[in-house]
């Protein structure tokens, strides 16, 4: 952005051009993050819940149960880091609900911001917001029994954050569907159910075979499997990757449809 000097620049000959990158910029990103961090309910949901669940689901008591390159504590820890990142990315996408309810989307439409740059801002914010719960859960785990190889810490952390991006279009979709501030109160329980059937709360091995087969088709399953694989040390199958890609495509398509419909006055 160049600054106009109103004492020197002539009003009519003032240079006018379009912003680079469709308006995407770091100040916008920074203010977007500040906004999300100011939402206290959001922070409790995103950071406190998965940390509390770590203790509730026995993360602190499973130290001596060895699993692959780590232990059962690290299994619980990674699963809940994925859960926290899922909430963070969904909430970031769903923040569009508040923006629409407030007419902010309309305000942005009369600025040079391009829709693609706006989506890129949402994805970048989601990535950054995903870091908070993953770090919180990993620090909690590290101090309370979770053990695994160094490489597993690093890789599973990045997979949890990156994989959770699947839920950005999910949040956007819900945000366009329900333009109100209470959208996360509905999505919170939905995410808990998805986490449960996707094997983030209870290991898949504890479930019966019918349930296990259904679980493989739910959206949280693939990310959990891939995020845990460096710790488990057995790699991941193609079905998990397909699960992530297909759900990403479904959510993105739904969000894009509603985004295009969203041209009215809200």
């Amino acid at each position: 952005m160049t600054q106009i000097d109103s004492t020197k620049d002539n009003f009519y000959t003032q240079k006018r051009s379009m912003p680079p990158l469709g308006g995407y910029n770091l100040t916008f990103l920074k203010i977007e993050i500040l906004r999300l961090l100011r939402n206290r309910r959001n922070i409790i949901f995103t950071i406190i819940t998965p940390v509390v669940f770590y203790f509730m689901f026995g993360g602190g008591k499973s130290i001596h149960q060895k699993m692959g390159n780590g232990n059962a504590s690290s299994y619980v820890m990674i699963s809940l880091a994925v859960y926290g990142a899922m909430i963070a990315t969904t909430a970031t996408g769903a923040s569009v609900a508040v923006e629409r309810a407030a007419g902010w989307s309309r305000q942005l439409r009369i600025t040079p911001l391009r829709p693609g740059a706006y989506i890129a801002i949402k994805i970048s914010s989601a990535l950054i917001m995903g870091v908070f719960p993953v770090v919180a859960v990993f620090v909690t785990g590290a101090l309370n029994g979770a053990q695994m190889t160094f490489a597993a810490w690093i890789i599973s952390g990045f997979v949890a954050i990156g994989g959770a991006l699947v839920f950005v279009p999910f949040g956007l979709f819900a945000g366009y569907l329900m333009p109100s501030e209470s959208v996360m109160q509905i999505l919170g329980p939905v995410l808990a159910i998805l986490a449960f059937v996707g094997g983030l709360f209870v290991p898949m091995a504890f479930l019966n075979s019918t349930f296990r087969n259904i679980a493989k088709f739910t959206p949280a399953y693939g990310i959990g499997e891939i995020a845990r694989s460096p710790m488990m040390g057995h790699g991941f199958d193609i079905a998990s990757v397909a699960n992530v890609i297909i759900w990403m495509a479904i959510f993105a398509f739904g969000a894009a449809m509603l985004f295009r419909r969203d041209t009215g006055r809200v």
């Binding site: 952005m1 160049t2 600054q3 106009i4 109103s6 620049d9 009003f11 009519y12 000959t13 003032q14 240079k15 006018r16 051009s17 379009m18 912003p19 680079p20 308006g23 910029n25 100040t27 916008f28 203010i31 500040l34 906004r35 100011r38 939402n39 508040v98 923006e99 407030a102 007419g103 902010w104 309309r106 305000q107 942005l108 439409r109 009369i110 600025t111 040079p112 911001l113 391009r114 041209t263 006055r265």
Partner: protein, 302 residues
């Protein structure tokens, strides 16, 4: 001079054959409107006349069914992307969890060229509440914040959609003072309002629309005269009634006891005749107010 803005076709707003229907309802019906750079235009009409639909099409928020919108020779979205055109909306459009200065800083980053954040806060008269959360600002302060956002690229054209709705008298006056001070630069302004005194006080030109069409387009005083003219009265001895009746715009003449009362849509010519030719004294011109004209014109049409 303003032709340098965007080449040869430098009308600030050029609406040609604009049409927009919602189902069977025709909101804008073949609207033609040309606004030159530097004009301050009030856009008047009863509720449902098509003001907001027209504004949405000018801003590129709504595609027209037929016709064309050109802003300094650009399409609306191109004009918005380059900062030629900004708007102040009636309500909404702000995030209450951000502060005033954060909101301005955020929007300023979206323009390739922008005035400084400090300057627009000052011009809009909200530099003293820069760190206040938007949610804690009064309606009038929020409206000045919207105005500050619209000032950022120093636009050539600013559209205001009923900007003072819900403000008290003092807030309205302060708001218009800020707009007025700023428009000295030569900015084109188009504002929709339903406060007729605002149109009367601040606009060079009034465009009155009803049922999606322009039904009157003139200065405030011309619009007032258009409805039923003005009343010119004076003391005069032995006037030539037949000559007066032939003056342009005269619709009725009444003469009683050396006092004449003339209804005329061209009160200037009538008055000039009375003073110069008929040696009239104590001449008075009373006009119908804009509200009378507004009601007369919009009901006549329906």
């Amino acid at each position: 001079m303003s032709n340098s803005v965007a080449g040869s076709s430098a009308l600030a707003i050029d609406l040609v054959g604009l049409k927009k229907s919602f189902g069977t309802l025709c909101a804008v019906d073949n609207m033609n409107l040309q606004i030159k750079p530097g004009e301050v235009v009030a856009f008047l009409g009863p509720n449902g006349a098509g003001k907001t639909t027209t504004i949405d099409m000018i801003l590129g928020l709504l595609p027209p069914d037929e016709g064309n919108v050109s802003i300094f020779g650009y399409s609306p979205s191109q004009a918005v992307a380059r900062g030629y055109l900004t708007a102040v909306m009636q309500s909404g459009g702000l995030l209450k969890e951000l502060s005033v200065v954060e909101t301005v800083r955020l929007i300023s980053t979206l323009f390739a060229q922008s005035l400084s954040v400090e300057e627009v806060l000052h011009r809009a008269g909200i530099d003293t509440i820069a760190n206040q959360r938007v949610g804690k600002c009064s309606g009038g302060q929020q409206q000045r914040l919207r105005f500050a956002l619209a000032l950022l690229p120093r636009p050539d054209l600013m559209i205001l959609d009923e900007p003072t709705t819900g403000m008290d008298v003092e807030a309205r006056r302060d708001f218009w003072k800020a707009i007025h001070q700023d428009s000295q630069e030569g900015r084109t302004i188009m504002f929709a309002t339903h406060y007729l005194e605002e149109a009367d006080a601040y606009a060079d030109r009034i465009v009155l629309i009803n049922k999606g069409r322009v039904i009157a387009d003139a200065s405030a005083s011309e619009i007032k005269a258009m409805s039923s003219g003005r009343v010119v009265s004076a003391d005069v001895v032995n006037p030539k009634i037949a000559d007066i009746e032939k003056l342009p715009g005269v619709t009725s003449v009444e003469y009683r006891g050396n006092h004449i009362v003339i209804n005329s849509t061209d009160s200037d010519t009538t008055a000039r005749y009375l003073l110069n030719i008929a040696n009239a004294k104590n001449l008075e011109i009373t006009s119908h107010n804009l509200e009378d004209a507004f009601i007369a014109l919009t009901t006549k049409d329906s």
